[in-house]
Symmetry: C2
Subunit: 107 residues, 2 copies
């Protein structure tokens, strides 16, 4: 299985976490929060599309909501393959750190 890029991993993670609210803007906000960096929106859309093409995500359009600017949202959801890829990414991380000290202070 091909390893995810960092952006792909963060996006799959955010989609899993956000559940029914997994559309672009919250995904963007969640990733910016957890990485403590400013991501541009384009840096989210393009990997999102790629993940759909790869079969890791599927999307649907929600109904519009009765708020100003409340247009239909494109909601994403993990496929079993996407879930598997994310689990694999995490497994690699676990392997990396399992024999390293807890807070990485022994330099």
């Amino acid at each position: 299985m091909k390893l995810l890029t960092r952006a792909e991993e963060l996006i799959l993670w955010a989609v899993l976490r956000l559940k029914k609210e997994a559309y672009c803007l919250p995904i963007h906000a969640e990733i910016s929060r957890v990485t403590d960096e400013n991501w541009s929106l384009g840096s989210i859309y393009m990997p999102l599309d790629r993940l759909v093409k790869k079969g890791y995500l599927v999307s649907r359009l929600s109904d519009s909501t009765p708020e100003r600017g409340g247009r239909r949202k494109r909601i994403y959801r993990l496929t079993p393959e996407g879930y598997k890829a994310l689990k694999n990414a995490r497994k690699v991380q676990d392997r990396m750190w399992e024999k390293m000290p807890g807070k990485l202070e022994d330099i």
Copy 2:
């Protein structure tokens, strides 16, 4: 602080782990092992160089060893900045998974 790419993170990790044996071929082997993928050597050299340019690694040439083909090795070592960047990458990962179930089975 700019987030590391996946290759950069894996390389800093391997260098930290391999200590005095941190030259390209063992780094390559260690990364292939932990990710369970076949990396080409070029995919190690180029990020290695970049990490040196960014000030995250320094390198020196070892003496040659008395074995067939035992030419001098270029040994890498983390700078304090490199160490800090790796710690930060790990911190982001910890934040990602801290409220997610242990083995990610609740889909």
